[in-house]
């Protein structure tokens, strides 16, 4: 794949193409941006250019073929487990001083997962690597990367894709006959994916959409529930952290939509398919209670990441939602 063929991410691709053309290739790049917006795609395309004999990613020369077959000896992709430990970086130290022909590329994903010792021991080699070595570091959260690492790299920001682009990429990927319900679904998925094609594909294939309609069902029922029913609901809720985070996002989107309707802001809601329900439920909440509920949901996020027991968080949160609806 060539950099020209990458859709979206104009800033990153033009910068990299110019760098290749003018031979101003930096020794370290840091790609940062949300999940599923094309960081890895661009990184791979860029590597392809570097390995190609005339830097055009022709797809025919030896370098391109070796790369596309996945057995280029100078292409190192560091696999990330839950963390990147100092041992991996020591291996990198040894490997990167081995002789290589042309460029050697090190692709490290989720650089924020490096432990502190690992990140520190990476600093020196990152600043002054051996000749013709390029580090491509990827992260979804630049705030969690050691600042001394960040300052040694050229940073390329990967913004979220536009909704239209996600839709068209999704169509391209699916290649199905479209009818009205399908195009509605595509639109909804693109909206919910929030500029991430990776997330859109997950939404399309995975059980996430079913999960979403279940969560929204519950959200609609909560105002009419009794306290014990609400608590029962919170007991039955999934305790998986990943599930919970996406559920909380759904809740936040739901209440954001409610508030937007309440304040008569003309904006596209996240929950395109529930517009009528939103208008009805909106009547049950005051602005103040919407504020309180949204604030509460936002407060819960860090607790989920810190492993507080989900059912306590949820019990409290759902009760707030019910209480808010009565006043």
């Amino acid at each position: 794949m060539r950099l020209f063929d990458v859709k979206g991410q104009r800033l990153a691709t033009t910068t990299l193409v110019r760098a290749i053309k003018s031979n101003h290739i930096s020794h370290a790049y840091l790609f940062h941006g949300q999940y599923g917006v094309g960081k890895e795609t661009v990184a791979k395309a860029f590597s392809n250019h570097l390995f190609c004999e005339d830097a055009s990613a022709c797809g025919k020369c030896r370098g391109c073929l070796r790369f596309s077959h996945g057995n280029h000896s100078d292409y190192h992709c560091m696999k990330t487990d839950t963390t990147i430990k100092i041992g991996r970086i020591r291996e990198l130290h040894e490997a990167c001083y081995l002789k290589h022909e042309g460029y050697a590329v090190w692709l490290i994903k989720n650089i924020e997962k490096m432990t502190l010792p690992a990140a520190n021991s990476f600093l020196k080699v990152l600043e002054e690597p051996p000749e013709d070595t390029v580090f491509l570091l990827l992260t979804e959260n630049i705030g969690q990367v050691l600042p001394t690492i960040v300052s040694r790299c050229q940073q390329l920001q990967f913004p979220r894709l536009s909704q239209e682009l996600v839709e068209s990429l999704l169509r391209e990927h699916l290649q199905v006959e479209e009818d009205e319900s399908l195009s509605k679904k595509i639109q909804l998925v693109a909206k919910l994916a929030n500029g991430s094609i990776g997330r859109a594909l997950e939404l399309w294939e995975g059980p996430v959409l079913d999960r979403r309609s279940w969560v929204i069902q519950q959200l609609m029922r909560i105002p009419n529930m009794s306290t014990s029913e609400v608590l029962g609901l919170s007991l039955g809720w999934s305790e998986e952290r990943a599930d919970l985070e996406s559920d909380l996002t759904l809740m936040l989107q739901w209440y954001r939509d409610l508030w937007c309707i309440k304040s008569r802001t003309q904006v596209q809601p996240y929950n395109l398919d529930y517009q009528n329900d939103l208008a009805v439920i909106c009547e049950k909440y005051s602005v103040e209670s919407l504020r309180r509920v949204t604030e509460q949901i936002q407060n819960v996020f860090p607790y989920v990441q810190r492993n507080v027991r989900p059912r306590f968080l949820l019990g409290h949160l759902l009760l707030q939602m019910r209480k808010g609806a009565l006043t």
């Binding site: 800033l11 003018s22 020591r90 021991s121 300052s151 508030w259 309440k262």
Partner: protein, 559 residues
């Protein structure tokens, strides 16, 4: 020859080249020129302020063939090999990778040997804060009294992590962040030989975003050059993903106008243009901070916020920035913050409106004069005042029946007093019961059958004692509490004794005998509560719940 990043290419090669840090440079120069070289130096400071660079320069100054001097030649073998990083006498150790005690032991072995050629062996240990405590301690002796030919330079961004015993053995130099002017000056110096024109305002944006780090500044510049030949504010803001000043101004104005729809549109536009929303919030905060310092910024834009509102907006967006870190979708915190700022009246505002209301009422009163409203104004006030002064109910005269009647009448008030005295627990238990009978200063309190828990609790000394104490204060006579199980209708009977004496005399008479013997343990025969009489066939689980928790079935709904 591969391309080398600007920040590596333009690493200062002489002390003259170094921008700023004069306090460090001057001291080092003097010590070199006067041959007063210490054996251990600590360079501390934030990223990109020149620690490693100065360490290398210092090494050159020490080992240059022209003698230890600050004005080293840069041309002799030693200077060149240091520049290229392959000198045998300058050992640059990555403290973060070689952090264990083993590596330090190895270093101690090496230290003893004399330099290959040249005067000194210079050990530069970078990122030294990552050494393990054992490694630090193993280093102590060597660091204090190294051989005469050894100089240590240890560099770190994090001097707090270094043990005090190491700190006290070194001369410490703190490197400062660069000012915006210093960075701009350096950037210009770099750009001129590269043959690139740059606008001053663009360089200022770069310098601002570098946050005092020269490496950051040169890195951003490198990035801009990679993106476009021209360096102007537009390309810089595009590369950095920041919004222009106009957008920020427009945003603030819309916020002032409370135009939610347009504000959401601005966010949408930023999103489509690929701007980084957290970065936008940070820039917005910077702008608001400037407005805070110089109020004319706001009035120029036609915004009529006072300091209070401005502070409120700043606080809201500071909060928003924090929320964005945890959020998977950064739009939502932003949108919610906007809605919050616009929809929810601030505390100050609501207070102001309240004051205005009160003032309006006051003026209307002043003009019309005060009219005295006797029918509902005075009486309740008086009674509450009475209660506060003399809440006790005197139980000095009358027989037991009359006293009981008085107690029953004032029971609610007594409970309230308990509550006011913070005796919440006894109050909660007593609330479920009712005064049933009084004999010889023993107040018998009845509890319904299903309130066994409350009865048992109030019988405990720790709850009973305070309740009795307050009772003595409230009713003016020493009463002790005894509990029995009874039903509420019995309470009615006893309190309505005068009217339905016939019926109840028999029952209460027999009861009084029993209760005076063993009042606490005796079960007063209770009539069935209406719900139980209705008697639907209960679920096993429901009846179990009733047995355990007490309670009544009031209504049964079918789902």
């Amino acid at each position: 020859m591969a391309y080398v990043s600007l920040y590596r290419k333009w690493r200062p090669q002489t002390f003259m080249d170094v921008v700023g840090q004069t306090h460090v440079i001057r001291t080092l120069e003097n010590s070199l020129n006067n041959q007063r070289v210490s054996h251990a130096y600590l360079f501390a400071g934030p990223r990109g302020t020149g620690k490693t660079t100065v360490a290398r320069l210092f090494a050159k100054g020490l080992n240059c063939s022209d003698g230890p001097s600050a004005s080293f030649c840069g041309e002799c073998n030693e200077c060149i090999s240091i520049s290229q990083g392959n000198s045998l006498n300058v050992i640059e150790i990555d403290g973060a990778s070689n952090r264990g005690i083993e590596e330090i032991r190895e270093l101690r072995e090496q230290v003893r040997y004399a330099p290959a050629d040249g005067r000194y062996k210079i050990y530069i240990i970078d990122e030294v804060h990552m050494l393990t405590p054992e490694a630090f301690n193993a280093l102590l002796k060597t660091l204090e009294e190294p051989p005469a030919h050894v100089v240590f330079v240890i560099a770190t961004t994090d001097p707090q992590k270094i043990p005090a015993t190491i700190l006290s053995r070194c001369q410490r130099y703190d490197f400062k962040r660069f000012s915006i002017e210093q960075i701009c000056e350096r950037l210009r110096k770099v750009l001129t030989p590269e043959g690139i024109q740059a606008e001053g305002s663009a360089l200022e944006i770069v310098a601002e975003h570098a946050q005092g780090g020269m490496r950051d500044a040169l890195g951003i510049l490198d990035q801009c050059l990679a993106y476009s030949d021209r360096i102007n504010p537009d390309t810089v803001s595009e590369v950095l993903g920041v919004a222009t000043h106009e957008t920020i101004n427009q945003f603030v104005q819309l916020l002032d106008k409370k135009d939610t729809t347009s504000l959401f549109q601005v966010i949408q536009e930023l999103y489509v243009a690929g701007k980084d929303l957290p970065q936008f919030v940070r820039d917005l905060l910077q702008h608001l901070r400037r407005c805070m310092l110089d109020a004319s910024n706001l009035s120029k834009a036609g915004i009529s916020w006072d300091k209070g509102r401005l502070l409120e907006v700043i606080q809201a967006f500071t909060h928003c920035e924090r929320e964005m870190r945890y959020s998977t979708d950064v739009n939502i915190p932003m949108e919610l913050t906007i809605l919050h700022l616009i929809d929810i009246p601030s505390e100050l505002e609501s207070l102001q409106t309240q004051i205005a209301d009160l003032q309006a009422q006051l003026t209307s009163l002043e003009t019309s004069g005060i009219t005295y409203n006797s029918s509902n104004g005075s009486t309740p006030e008086k009674s509450t005042a009475d209660n506060e002064k003399r809440p006790q109910v005197s139980l000095t005269k009358g027989d037991n029946q009359e006293k009981l009647k008085q107690i029953s009448e004032n029971w609610g008030e007594f409970l309230q007093t308990l509550r006011n005295e913070r005796l919440v627990q006894p109050e909660a238990f007593l609330r479920e019961g009712f005064p049933l009978k009084l004999s010889n200063n023993v107040l018998i309190i009845g509890f319904p059958k299903e309130r066994g828990f409350h009865r048992a609790s109030i019988e405990q000394e720790k709850h009973k004692e305070p309740a009795e104490r307050l009772m003595a204060k409230f009713f003016g006579s020493q009463l002790s509490i005894e509990c029995v199980t009874a039903e509420a209708d019995q309470y009615k009977e006893t309190s309505d004794l005068g009217s339905s004496q016939k019926e109840s005399a028999k029952r209460s008479g027999s009861n009084s005998e029993d209760t005076s013997k063993k009042p606490a343990k005796e079960e007063v025969k209770a009539s069935k509560s209406p719900a139980e009489e209705k008697q639907v066939d209960l679920d096993e689980s429901v009846s179990a719940a009733l047995r355990i928790f007490g309670g009544k079935i009031i209504e049964i709904k079918d789902n």
